[in-house]
Symmetry: C2
DNA sequence: CGGTAAATCGAAAACGTTTTCGATTTTGTT
DNA sequence: AACAAAATCGAAAACGTTTTCGATTTACCG
């Protein structure tokens, strides 16, 4: 049982394919009578336009691509949810791909999306990505691209971000306000812009409040995992047993650290105060509950899609438009881990 | 700058579109010389076949649809990851949609996928779904469907599941072995098969080990959230202060319960032993660590895609095939919350 | 060199839709 | 009744690819 086509409707009604098509799309040059007839028959036959043909004809697929570093990740899940919820409203579908923080994979995924001819691409770039030709290529082919969260400042396109530097500054200042004198920082890898910015915010806060910046207090993590949190917490105790505060790049790592400190009998926040980043759901559940920076994943997803959608529409009408960078607000959420 | 087409290659080379197409697809009736010429030009022009045209011609899109109840969910994230990792290997893309546990939405999402003409659909059904016409319709239109995790036994299609009943039986028996005499159960909503099966496993285990099944010890939760875990833990203490074990449908709820018990000074596992379900990452981090049933999300995703892929291939060749139900093994993971 | 077999090529149809533009019919006006 | 205007319709091209099948060219052999 093959799907119904315009042709079949036309033949059973004894009219032309043209008229059937126009009737269904409510063209003004079709009489009310035939419109009614066509629509009724289309309904009873459960006619659905062949998307392949429509795509070919209109050269758009009402589908966008999404590339994220990691699917199993609370923050990115929230972003995905924001994107698909918004996409649904506009009748767009979302193809999701994962770069696993690898440049090579990211390139490959973008290639896939390009050959599938999606209408636009949303991307949060991988830690391993230092070269942005693959993204510039997409833009050069007039395909809308919007970056979110992990962006590249160099690339000329719309972006949705938070002010990582400011947020990190606030987080660190909070520790200083609570009386911390020697504050460590667990940072992310060297390349990604937001791990750089968060580090800079940390450094700024120290310097502007009369604390010396000590590079040996900054630990560079690789994969931002729970286990790394445990490992570096233990290492920190050995290296500097007088540290009284840590600003940690990501909640998951912070929770690893809290676990390690709990086991060693280190009191949080009395001995060491901790502030994380992301406001992962688990942060309000762990003991002690974790102070953190709330990062609006769902909203970021929604905003990113909206920007992309606008760009798609504008290009379609050949109207001019400008790339925009939207900065979403963050919040410091104070919980037990820093509340001394 | 419009994308390159076969026609353009043909014209610059002074040959026909047919030959170009055949050269690129390595047909035997094209000379090595022309093949080389065509391929080189296609390479330098960076030719990518127009997917819309290919789709129309071949009536397949190399795209599958995925409908899950909730995107922001550790288990489903793992499934998604398993699916897209496997799909990538076979050159398939995945469109992801969310039903938010609503029947109406689930129906709508399936409609969307059908009008997009995906090659197949993977689905884990919503709690709100009691009627399966929308899925049977898909199957009736010869579109491959594979259900996973939350399935409907009635629907005739391939499925990937775990033996929820057996797993729940083992979890409950474990509590009995640890000496629990009065075991409560926090179960999921009434409709979904796996919340039924887990309940039945619980009941069986009691009955087969000389404990009376007491319906008032079974609490029916709605949205399986952390907060519900807190709420029902407190309610349980009021209703039955002599309960010494709980088998809880989902880790997230169990963690809520643990939190509530911790605050009330109830000792786990000494006063009340707890076993959850899913082996959510957080379960090994919470204090006390949570005993649970490990549910293989990633593997389930992989397996579901493989089944779907086989069915797509078989149908394409008009070969016969049978629906299969694959049952994946689960493990009881014993941690502190039940280890007395 | 003639003939056949093999190798190589291309015309054309098809997938199903959208849209332009010209043709036909109906309506309204005098 | 005649004519212009308005309403309604349909033929045809186009989107870019794949594939069938017939046509042409080349190679080979006696």
């Amino acid at each position: 049982m093959k799907p119904v086509t315009l042709k079949q409707i036309a033949e059973t009604l004894g009219i032309s394919v043209t008229t059937v098509s126009k009737a269904l799309k409510d063209y003004p040059d079709v009489s009310k009578k035939t419109k009614k007839l066509v629509r009724e028959l289309a309904d009873t036959l459960n006619y659905k336009p062949n998307a392949f043909a429509v795509n070919l004809r209109t050269s758009e697929s009402k589908t966008i691509g999404l590339v994220i570093p990691e699917v199993v990740h609370h923050f990115f899940s929230s972003v995905v949810k924001g994107i698909i919820s918004q996409a649904e409203k506009k009748g767009y579908l979302v193809i999701i791909l994962q770069s696993s923080e690898s440049y090579e994979l990211e390139k490959k995924q973008i290639d896939l999306l390009m050959s599938q001819r999606v209408d636009g691409i949303l991307i949060s770039i991988a830690n391993g990505t230092a070269n942005f030709n693959h993204i510039n290529d997409v833009i050069a082919q007039d395909k809308p691209v919007v970056m979110f969260d992990k962006i590249a400042k160099i690339v000329n396109c719309s972006k949705v971000i938070i002010d990582d530097r400011k947020a990190a500054y606030i987080a660190t200042k909070h520790l200083i306000d609570k009386g911390c004198k020697k504050i460590a920082h667990f940072r992310g890898p060297l390349l990604p812009q937001n791990s750089i910015d968060r580090f800079l915010g940390y450094k700024n806060a120290l310097e502007e409040h009369g604390l010396v910046y000590n590079p040996s207090l900054v630990y560079i993590l690789e994969d931002m995992s729970f286990d790394e949190g445990v490992f570096f917490a233990e290492k920190l105790l050995k290296d500097h047993n007088d540290v009284d505060g840590i600003f940690i790049n990501t909640d998951l790592v912070a929770i690893g650290a809290i676990n390690a400190f709990n086991k060693k009998g280190i009191k949080i926040p009395e001995d060491i105060a901790i502030v994380g980043f992301s406001n992962w759901f688990m942060s309000s559940v762990i003991s002690p509950t974790l102070s953190t920076i709330d990062q609006p994943g769902y909203n970021m997803g929604k905003t990113a899609f909206k920007l992309l959608y606008k760009e798609i529409k504008q290009r379609k009408k050949n109207k001019p438009f400008e790339y925009k960078t939207v900065e979403l607000p963050t919040d410091l959420v104070v919980r037990e881990s820093s509340n001394k």
